[in-house]
Symmetry: D2
Subunit: 427 residues, 4 copies
Amino acid sequence: MGWNGWDCYGTTVTEAEVLANARFLAEHLLPTGWDTVVVDIAWYDPTARAHGYNAGAPLALDAHGRQLPAENRFPSAAGGHGFRPLADALHALDLRFGVHVMRGIPRLAVERDLPVHGTTWTARDAADTSSTCAWNPDNYGLDHDHPAAQAYLDGQVAQLAGWGVDLVKVDDMLAPYHSRAIEAWATAIERSGRDIVLSLSPGTHLSTAHLDHLRGRAQMWRISDDLWDRWEDVHAQLTRLARWAPHQRPGAWADADMLPLGRIGIRAERGEDRQSRLTPDEQRTLLTLWVMARSPLMMGGDLPTSDPATVALLANPAVGHVLRTGQDGRELLREDLGDGELVVWSAHAPTTRTRYVAVFWTGSAPRRHALPLASVVGHPPAPATWTVRDLWDLGERPVPHATCPADDDLDLDLPPHGVRWLALDAG
Amino acid sequence: MGWNGWDCYGTTVTEAEVLANARFLAEHLLPTGWDTVVVDIAWYDPTARAHGYNAGAPLALDAHGRQLPAENRFPSAAGGHGFRPLADALHALDLRFGVHVMRGIPRLAVERDLPVHGTTWTARDAADTSSTCAWNPDNYGLDHDHPAAQAYLDGQVAQLAGWGVDLVKVDDMLAPYHSRAIEAWATAIERSGRDIVLSLSPGTHLSTAHLDHLRGRAQMWRISDDLWDRWEDVHAQLTRLARWAPHQRPGAWADADMLPLGRIGIRAERGEDRQSRLTPDEQRTLLTLWVMARSPLMMGGDLPTSDPATVALLANPAVGHVLRTGQDGRELLREDLGDGELVVWSAHAPTTRTRYVAVFWTGSAPRRHALPLASVVGHPPAPATWTVRDLWDLGERPVPHATCPADDDLDLDLPPHGVRWLALDAG
Amino acid sequence: MGWNGWDCYGTTVTEAEVLANARFLAEHLLPTGWDTVVVDIAWYDPTARAHGYNAGAPLALDAHGRQLPAENRFPSAAGGHGFRPLADALHALDLRFGVHVMRGIPRLAVERDLPVHGTTWTARDAADTSSTCAWNPDNYGLDHDHPAAQAYLDGQVAQLAGWGVDLVKVDDMLAPYHSRAIEAWATAIERSGRDIVLSLSPGTHLSTAHLDHLRGRAQMWRISDDLWDRWEDVHAQLTRLARWAPHQRPGAWADADMLPLGRIGIRAERGEDRQSRLTPDEQRTLLTLWVMARSPLMMGGDLPTSDPATVALLANPAVGHVLRTGQDGRELLREDLGDGELVVWSAHAPTTRTRYVAVFWTGSAPRRHALPLASVVGHPPAPATWTVRDLWDLGERPVPHATCPADDDLDLDLPPHGVRWLALDAG
Amino acid sequence: MGWNGWDCYGTTVTEAEVLANARFLAEHLLPTGWDTVVVDIAWYDPTARAHGYNAGAPLALDAHGRQLPAENRFPSAAGGHGFRPLADALHALDLRFGVHVMRGIPRLAVERDLPVHGTTWTARDAADTSSTCAWNPDNYGLDHDHPAAQAYLDGQVAQLAGWGVDLVKVDDMLAPYHSRAIEAWATAIERSGRDIVLSLSPGTHLSTAHLDHLRGRAQMWRISDDLWDRWEDVHAQLTRLARWAPHQRPGAWADADMLPLGRIGIRAERGEDRQSRLTPDEQRTLLTLWVMARSPLMMGGDLPTSDPATVALLANPAVGHVLRTGQDGRELLREDLGDGELVVWSAHAPTTRTRYVAVFWTGSAPRRHALPLASVVGHPPAPATWTVRDLWDLGERPVPHATCPADDDLDLDLPPHGVRWLALDAG
């Protein structure tokens, strides 16, 4: 759980903006479990701008072709300190620090043919100039048949580890699936001796057949292309998360992408400055689905300037609690009712006789639905009666029932593109 | 795997029609594993007709309110033999025999207040007249708080067992979910001492939360309402089977319903006499999906008058072989490509290094797609090269590749609403 | 987690003793999760005595053959109140109340041919006099082919539910396995409308093939014969729990029996008045194994007169915490080293990067052993370094390491018949 | 399934002996599935001898420090052909060919400082001279922090692939667990482009915590030290296989070691020339346990001179059939009965209603035991009656029952250290 500036600041985020968000996170959301701050792509590009990538940009590199923070955006990096001062500042707030990196090695390092750290090879030995990214011009891929490739990565991760980085989001890894690059990153992190979380992106058309390969090597992997504040993007995750959720386990998480909530698009890669176009109900659907499926949660909007209602959603204690303690989250039912789909998920708490239930409704008009409680909790030896709490109770709707016998129905009024998120307590 | 006359003859099938289909099955399809013949609803109604159910029909009942075959339709039942002669005829063909029964007890038995077999109670003790079926007027439900209910079922199953019935399809059980009735049927079958498969219908809005309750009690349960020869009906099963497939196991099968293939609607409950309106590609999609998900296969069309192309589909040895031996069938990928969805399933063979892959395409125009082989077979220690066979090769399309390295793509031309079904052999 | 008087008071426990233990539990152990009090066998026998069962005892029965508390031992039951006053007293302490019942129906009820509650049958209709218990003379089995059997159980459970009972321990159910009796008990509890935990005993030679049948019907089932304060009894559970632990899940627990700790044998069915003969290390082995395997914990000794060291073991917060929150507890390694067996178990916490490890040593002399940490935590993406805490740290031994790299060994001094129980925290 | 000369010829096997065994295998055992021939350790040592390893032996190496077959023992290797001619001969018999290799690089190559194939490094760059094997003096380990290490392995596997090797058994890998070496071997095999099975040895004290790491990289891994023809060695595998069996899956097998059956010790590393000292019952126990747990089967004795009874055991069609098609093999019960342990395993066939049951008895005297059939097959919906076949029926004992109702017992006479291995067919 954390914050990543991609949805609001795109490639252009500055140290001051990172720190402002970090302080907001530490003050308002850390108690609920939001504890990580990630600087996304192009922190090494002093010319980064909204709405696109720069070809041939004067990237900040060290003598070994490794990216350095652009000092015009990250002043504390001056004097060769890299991200160390920023990492220290975040750690002092009890936060963890993540950075983004593209697959491969900067083209600029190859052009300059810089030496690979700790070896007699150069960037040209390490690079595979035939391997490029379809959407970003910064890097070439690495030639994993040449030992210089691993040596370059070892050097890059050693630098990140030295700075105190806790998470690295490596991009252009899964579509197509770069198995050799994934293995090399896992090796480099292992060799660094630091516990760095490896997060892989993006996950366009990612098949569960890759699961065994991913599990041994990364901690998080995206399962879709970038998600924005469109209902269609949220809706499409229902199918993907239903397939991935049964495979979630500690240290090996399918990731449904950042949360485009609050104020986004300030200087983002696409779109205008705005409060998220997702309706409040769609936002609750998004958060509930991610939590029930145990996807990592990364807030994408600018926290200090987001509307209080959004921050209140994130600060809902149920979000952090169910994400961390919910077990066996899974889809139980998905049926097209003509004017929309009814989608039911459940999870259970590990230590008490409590079940969590999310009833999603994809229709564009409200609907009442009577859901047999047994279709959620099953049969004896399940308890015979349950007390019902509304986990999104924000004063708007009555709790559906004080108590409900297991052979009765939950009568639910379902909002458009919305969800009812309930906790059922035995007895 | 078997034949059920519902899709062609509805409530009206006769003994001659059953036997004609049975002989066809034994001759043409038994070698592929099609071995069961089921007489569906209303075999006890001498006035049964196409397109509807009869309220107040003069059902054939014995002195204890148990259904008897209508002798005008099943002549061999005359003389009190019930289904024994028909069962014997089917067993002589090495086929198994199934019958349909409605939940509960005939209203006619309650009106007549017939004695419950082996007890001093009567049908009125056993019945719960407030429990009715929404779509069929024959029966009342049973009052499972009164011991006469179990006694009635015990008597009914004892009669079916005495006739030699191998499978009983009990209807109106799952929507809503009648847990007490399911338990009572399981008990009655256990008490009968005969190995009778219990098949439950229909499965409208069936949640996987019922799985543990079903598994201990029934062998097959429907997971949808009735399926007909409409593409939408087939398409909707993709979502349901993706959820149920990981839970399939011997003796506990989620059932996606009968196959409305070949000649159907002759005197059916709905629709006109026709060859199935599913296109050949849709038919292959249907069969492949059922097989990969290991759903029971019940042919619904009239076999002797179905077109040879349909019979050829059913007789494809891959259908029976993969259904019986495929392991761990599951959805790997489902993505909307704009003009349709790409849906990839895999299964593996238990004893050899063979994988089965089904690539479904829901678009209404053909599409070429390059599918990375690794997204199906995973990574090392998976074999490095695979030989590809087309399991639906009916002379129409070339085998996509003689051999394919695991880091290459399968280039597939996908037909509209169609499937490419492949076997991959290691090396 | 709770207390059961069997190991200290056998068949003879009195209301005063129950309440004394309950108050002790509420005051000292409830914060750690010990919340249940169970009255074991023969509470209906006014002549109950240590060291044996009474044949032909004048059991306290109501007019329908259902057991009543013997008023000479449970004075609050006078005036037909049954266990209601005791249940109220326990509930007032925030405790749950359990009682023991034998399979079947009292022989005395059959001799008197008492009417079955709510029916026109009598005890003779319900009983199966050919079905007896090998070690206890109180009851006959029930004839589950006769509806009077279910009716008797329905009446018995209705009475327990009316008293406010939360758990019923039904004895003589699993050896041999009485499947019909288990089904009937599950049905009776379901019909009672009260959430009563069904606990089955004893589990001599219980096979995991019964798992599916048990799971749908009971919440706890013993997996061995009675366990006493002998090392051999504790040792034998290692093998059984290794087989059952992977199947543990909420509401469906394999039960390794009560904890014969503290002061036992005061008036027990066997043995003399004593503090448990298990050594302190054996006691820690017992508790740790039960917790790692997530077996229910029922303290068997008299709490007010047990030694403080025993109470301190039970009050160790790790006991309650790991029992309730540990996930995926399982045996990782079991090897005979010549002078004893090394047995390693692990579990993980659901929400943090914490692992629990138990290293058991069955030898009768101490031993040092260097256990590779990777053999417990696996490989990357597991964290590279771990901080080690001793969960049984009672001031006796140093923590083995402040921190341990994942590629190093844990150097452990293992006590005879003892355990080192560690928490490993990432980083 | 195959043959490995270790138990009979130790380090000394010759080409003629390999071929004699291969021809015997092809003629007598290939139909049952025995299809692999493995040349074990020291084929590159022209001075290899029984009962020990040679320090400082004049190993046959090529110019890059890679082992070559000793030509005095493998004449067809002359002229630089390596194992290619032997591989061709075996492939012509429809057999697969495996060879043994020690972890690391020959010390002799390091002494000579031979160049690493395809690089400018030498053996001294690749070697880690501080990493040695505790029991064999041939090799140093590799320094996996230096790229020469991977380059050396890549060259070695390229040579094996060029010869046509199908399986490589790499020794000294798991005790202690050499994770980096395992990863490097997996990488080298992947780069070779040939489907070579990676088999890891030995498995002394191997923990299941290594499972995820192994699964992605090797196909077989030993779970114990070497096994010889001693009852204690066989007995100790019961515990280990019970833990590993639930994790077996295609391409990822726990390996309980070779079968020391028939004539062994001819010129072995330890012991005298003999027919296996395991009794016929112990041999059946060994084979049955390996098959039920789906461990790889490698015959260790010299086939042409083994007694016919041993060959008949191996040729039992049930051995190959259940090994290849049995599903979900697992321990159901293990109980000490005072004079021995009763250990019950089950597996099921994938396509029919057949269960396999093995009832082991570890006592040293025969015993009769009545095993409730339900403790093996469970409860309804399991079939109500079963037909029983004896899979080791060699004319000695009557089949226990023609048919057995599910609520009855199997009355079994159990031989000392023996097993009854049954197939149960539904109905």
